[in-house]
Each structure stands twice: as C-alpha cells, then as structure tokens.
Amino acid sequence: MDNPEVILDIRGLTKEFPGVRALCEVSFQVRRGSVHALVGENGAGKSTLIKILTGVYQATSGDFLFKGKKVRVEKPLDAQRLGLSVVHQELKLVETLTIAENIFLGRPQSSKSGLVNWSAMRREAKKLIDELHIKLDVDEEVSRLSIAQKQIVEICKALSFRADLIIMDEPSATLTENELECLFDIIANLKERGITVIYISHRMDEIFKIADTVSVLRDGAHIRTLPISEVDREQLISLMVGRELGNEYPKLPAEITDVALEVRGLAREGVLQDINMHVRHGEIVGFAGLVGAGRTETARAIFAADRITSGQIFVNGKEVHFNSVRDAIRHRIAFVSEDRKQQGLVLGMSVKHNVSLVDLDNVCVKGLMNERRERELAWTMIKKLAISTPNEEKETRLLSGGNQQKVVLAKWLAVDSDIMIMDEPTRGIDVGAKAEIYKLMCQMAQQGKAVIMISSDMPELIGVCDRIYVMRDGTISGEIARENFSQEAILNIAIA
C-alpha cells in the first residue's frame, strides 16, 4: 500500500448524480514520474473523475491517496495546495492581466509591508517559464497569447504551487502540429523533473507517443490499466468501446429514393472546410465524431443559422440560397437543436404555443390567430407523438426531457418538414423515451422524409442509421455504409 512509487492511489471512487451513476467503483494507481494517459468515450466518466480529484465534486463513496496520504479535497484550492493541479481544456486565465499576474493570481508575492512585491513576482514567474525552456515575456497581457502559450501559463501556474501531479484535460484539442511538439517537449521536461502527468486525449497517436501507462474508462467504470507497450491501437479502441449492441433500436424498413438534400464544398471560415454530403428521402444518415468536430456547426450552416463562407446547397436537386432560417424552413428543412432548453423551446410558453411557433399561418384565420385551430393542432401533435402532458396549456419547462424533445419534434412536424436535421435528439432523456424517439425517426423515414441524426452515442447511430458520416477537425473524414458499421470503424476515423 505505502509504495513510494505510487503518487496517486484511487480507491473505489463512485459518484452518483440524481438518476445517473457517473462513476462506479473506479480504482487504479498512477506511478510517480510517469505520463499516464486516461482514455474513454464521451461520457465515460473522465471529467467526473478529474473533478473529484480536484475538489469540484465530492465523491459519493470511495477515496484516494495522494503521495501516500489519504487527503480531503473540498475545493480546487485544496488540491492545488497539495500539489495536484489541472490544466483545463477551456483555459481559466484572466485575459486582461499579465502572465506574471495570472501565475500568481489570488496569492501575489508580498513584501514585509504587505504590498505586492512586483519584482519578486516577475522574477519567480520568469524562473518558472525559463525552466521549461520557453521564451515568453512575463509582462505580456494574456489576451495577446496563442492558445498554446496560454496553456504554458497554466502549466507554470501549476508549477508555482510546486505541483507533483499535473492533469492535462485534452490539451491537444486546439493545438497545431508545431505547438503539439512544443507541448510534448514540455511534458518530457516535466517528467525529467519527476513531475507526474495525467494526460487525457482522444488522439491515439499522441497517447502512443508520450504515455507510459494507460487507463481505460467506459460507462463510468474502470476497465483496465496497463503499460502502453502491452497494447495496440485496435485493442485500446475495443477496450474503450467494449459493449455489444442490444436490440433497443427498432429499425423499420423504409424505401430510400431520390436525393433530398445535397451539400457541396460547404465551408465556414475557421470552423468548417469542404463539407460534401447528401441524404435521400427515406434515409437516416448519421453524423458521428468527437465533440467539437464540427457536426453541430455543419447542421447550423445548412440551416442558415450561421453564415457560410462558401458552398452550394441543393434541395430536391435544385440549388437554393438561404439568407435566413426562414428560407431554410420554407424549403421544409427542420433543425431539432442539440440543447432543447436553450435553443429548442421557449420554456415559459405552453405546449400549444411552442407547437405552433414555426408557422403561425397554420393556425391563423384571415391573418388573425385562431385559438380553436391552435388548440386542435396542439392536440393532434400531442396524440400523434404521445406527448405526456395534462393539457395543451402546460408550460414546456415543467415537462420531462423526453416530452420536451417530443414537443420540439412536434413543432417541426406541424409544418410538415421534409428534411429533419436532429442534433443529439436523445441526449439526457431516459431509455423508454429514447426508444420512442427512434421509432418516430424510423416512421418519418418510412413516410419519405430525409433524416440526419447527429449523435455522440455510437450504439444509437449504428442501430438507427442507414449510413454514417464521420467528422473530424471541421470536415467529413469518412463515410461508412450500414453493412460496415462498427464502433471500431467509426472511432478509427473520428480519432486521427
């Protein structure tokens, strides 16, 4: 137990949120001075684990030893004081302050008089940066730095706490090739100084390049920890994916006919490049990829919710130019957005008013809204989609997640949309409601609608789709036909 070689000993950590078990009895050890990779799909529990280690969350049960001692970490500052720091994916720096000020944020070096000792602070900051063999001016304002440079500032901040363990949460996600090399040099430098690094990444290449050990999480459970030399890429991916597909996906046969929507060379400066895709009537096409790969952005660009820099869009074979969301809706495109609370529903409005919102002409008589027609429309959709609500006047924020999602669908089906773009349609809703949404999607396909489903849940993509596009770094990097579906195949394209 008291092995000095082990810097972090995680013992049976469990974290439950209302209705969800995010972490389940996770136990593994991290060797001092090693680079330890932590991998898993989106939602595997990596972030939850990190948040417990750094005091953002408290574990429901279980504990961990740090440097051989059982420690209580109740807030992030506790962890930093112990020597356990995180470099977050979204950097947490104060943009308007200098590098030196950021490094010593909240605990400036003070002289005897109680005033800030600026020269000592800058000297210390410079020393920390120099030790990484980096050239940066400590008086530079952080807002002027590149993302890679900001990461260096974060690392220096961690080092200023005399960190023994630095957790890097997907540091490479936003870096260029050169910057990545620089990051690897820094990690090697830290390792030489005996500092342990826990490295979270989706990119297999990096993991095999720098990690000594790798731990795999899946569905909140620890699957395995093993030396990187004992595993290859395919094995690692199958460890991450693991499960067999059950029959929770009621795929109904639909006749796939003409191309409904085609996109050629779609681009949005700095976000999307050269998107080429199509979807046919009666077809369900999936969009797989990691968070941030550009799937939602593609959907928004097609729907004219964001401006595009270039590209052509064809609906039923005819080129169209959308100046606004309204134009896209006129061509019977629907966009069921990822975040139904922020983007899909007007939560303070009733079911009735949300359902009719997209096309009020539907419920107007002689240009004026007709209450009876609006109520009838609401009830038609409530019955059709089996929305569970006591009446059509209920405010949508009071409904369950699954029923809210059905109201969003209802609003688009009310205008008889022909091309349904659905972004994470089953996120955060329970298993029963999920199955109903799948069934609705299959029924839409049977009626000849074209369906695009963006999802991070690979089993559901595999279960429901006819074809899957895989996105990476803002472009479509591969396409898989149904007969070749497998999670390994998707991950192989999604992860460079």
Partner: protein, 327 residues
C-alpha cells in the same frame, strides 16, 4: 367523465386568470381601505381623477410593455415624451405649423428615435440598457437646447381638448385614449403573429431565431412602438399642461416599468398580459390618490411607492424560484 374534464378545464382557466391578474386583489383591498378611511374617495369624480392621473404613464407603459416582453428595457422613454412635447409645442407656436402637422411631425420623430434605439441594439449589438440610456441623455439634452430651457407657452386652444376635455362631458379624453390603447395592444398581443413573436423572442431569443422568427425585426419594431407611445404621451402632456415643458415626462420611463412589474410582466421577458399593465398603473394611481386624500406628505408617498415596487418584484422573484424548485 365529460363533466369532470370540463370542470378541471374551468378551474385551470380560473387559476390562470388569477395568476395573470394577481394585481386585482391588492387593487380591491386598496379600494376597500381608502373607502373606509379616506373622505371623498368613493366618488365618480375621484375615480375619473385617478384614471386621468395614471393615463399618461399607462399609455407610455404600453410601449414599455412590448419592450420588456421582448426581453429589453427602454430608459429613454421619459425623455422621448419630453422631446415629443417640445416638438409638438414648438411646431405649433414657433414653427407656424397647424396642430395636425405638428402632431404628425411629433409621431415621425417618435418613430425615428425608436428606430434608432432598435438599430443600436440589433445592428450594432449595443446592450439595450446602455443604448437607451444614451438616447435618454440625447433626447433630454435636445429638450433644453431647442427651448433654451424655457417652457413653450401660448399653446393653441384648439388642442386643449386632448388633455383637458371630456368625451360626452363624462370621461376625460386621456382616459378614453388610454382605454383605446389597451384594447388595441391587448388584441395585438393575443391575436396577431407579431404579438406571439414578441413573447417568443423575450422567452428565448435563440429558440425564436431557430424557429425562423426574424428576431432583429421584432426587437426593432418594439422600440419603434415605444417611440410612438412616447409621442402620443408627449402630445397629451402638452395639451394637459397647456405648455411644452423641457423637463416634461421626467421619470416616466421608470413609472412605466413599475406599472409593468406590478401588472405581472416579467422583467426577464416573455411573460405577462397587456391588461395587467393598465391594472398596475391604476394600482399606483389609487395608492397615491388615497395617500393624498388623507394628507400623506408627497415625499413620504415616494418612499411608499419604492417599497411597493420592491415588494412586487420580491413576490415575482419568489414565485419564479418556487416554480424552479418544483421543477
């Protein structure tokens, strides 16, 4: 079975009515209290007096109502009332315009400055608070610049009826106008697509945008409506005071906010009923009227008004938190 459903529907409707117009309860209580302790309160003339006193703020509040419902707040409305009054008065007295022409110019100015407010927010993306605060300074400053800070007097007698006349010798014209305004805006908010779009925009701008609503157009329009109601209020004010006062309408924008809040309009947008606003204004009118009748010092009245506002918002916040908790 059918009956049970009917009854529950009726009870749902009743509950909605009560929660939409909660302000009716304090209004009734207030009437009861003043009736008991204030002499001369319970008379037709006094009621008309109250309604006439609240009419201008209530008309302005119609503009503020649309703006708040769409998720913003207009701080320039009071100053726009002042400027509208000056333009109307100057037009008739010094610029040799017929009353109708001066009135038209006043409304044109209201529309224009409202559109400028809207543009600052939708096109240049300024925060609404700052944009309309700037407009408040500009409009109020212009009031003094145009008049050299002297009131404009010798208003033609032909416009006196607007502020001081009575319809059929019974109902003051400002009250008639106020009622007409609320009939119209209540209809617009319930029956037209525009009304629904305003609520959707205030309730969730992003969802409204993704539902194909032209959010920028809606927001610009509500600020233009604010300008129009400010112009109308300014015209009535000049007629009522028989002069154009450069400080006219000062503080009206906040009195309009108070009427909205008391009337159940949520300051976060997307919630509330138009008729609530007029009731909110009437509540404030009854409160000050009764206090005046029992000789409460006017500065103390202001203190009481402040407390009522805080109480009203407090109740609203409490209600929202309880709803959020019950979710």
């Amino acid at each position: 079975m059918e009956k049970v459903v009917r009854r529950s529907e009726a009870s749902v409707k009743l509950m909605r009515f009560v929660s939409d117009y909660v302000i009716l309860i304090p209004i009734l209580l207030l009437v009861l209290v003043w009736w008991l302790i204030a002499p001369n309160f319970m008379s037709y003339n006094n009621f008309m007096n109250v309604l006439r006193q609240v009419s201008m703020v209530a008309i302005l509040a119609a503009g503020q109502y649309f703006i708040i419902c769409s998720g913003y707040l207009d701080l320039s409305l009071g100053a726009l009332v002042g400027l509208a009054g000056i333009v109307f008065a100057k037009g008739m007295v010094d610029w040799g315009m017929a009353p109708a022409a001066a009135g038209a110019l006043t409304f044109l100015m209201g529309i224009l400055l409202g559109a400028v407010n809207g543009c600052m927010i939708t096109v240049f993306r300024l925060p609404g608070f700052i944009a309309t605060l700037g407009m408040q300074y500009i409009a109020r400053g212009l009031c003094y610049v145009i008049t050299n800070s002297y009131p404009v007097s010798k208003i033609p007698a032909s416009v006196a009826w607007i502020g001081r006349g009575h319809l059929l010798n019974a109902v003051p014209w400002p009250v008639v106008i106020m009622i007409a305004v609320y009939v119209v805006i209540s209809f617009v908010s319930k029956k037209t697509k525009f009304g629904r779009f305003v609520y959707a925009t205030g309730g969730n701008q992003e969802a409204a945008h993704l539902s194909g609503i032209n959010v920028r157009l809606i927001v610009s329009t509500v600020f233009v409506l604010g300008g129009i109601f400010a112009a109308l209020t300014g015209v009535i004010l000049v007629s009522r005071l028989n002069s154009g006062q450069p400080s006219g309408g000062m503080g009206f924008e906040f009195q309009a906010v108070i009427a909205c809040v008391l009337g159940g309009i949520s300051l976060t947008g997307g919630k509330g009923k138009a008729l609530g606003v007029i009731l909110g204004a009437i509540f404030v009118g009854l409160l000050t009227n009764g206090m005046t009748l029992i000789n409460v010092d006017s500065y103390l009245q202001q203190v009481v008004q402040g407390m009522v506002l805080i109480l009203a918002i407090g109740v609203d916040v409490y209600k929202q938190r309880r709803q959020a908790a019950s979710k």
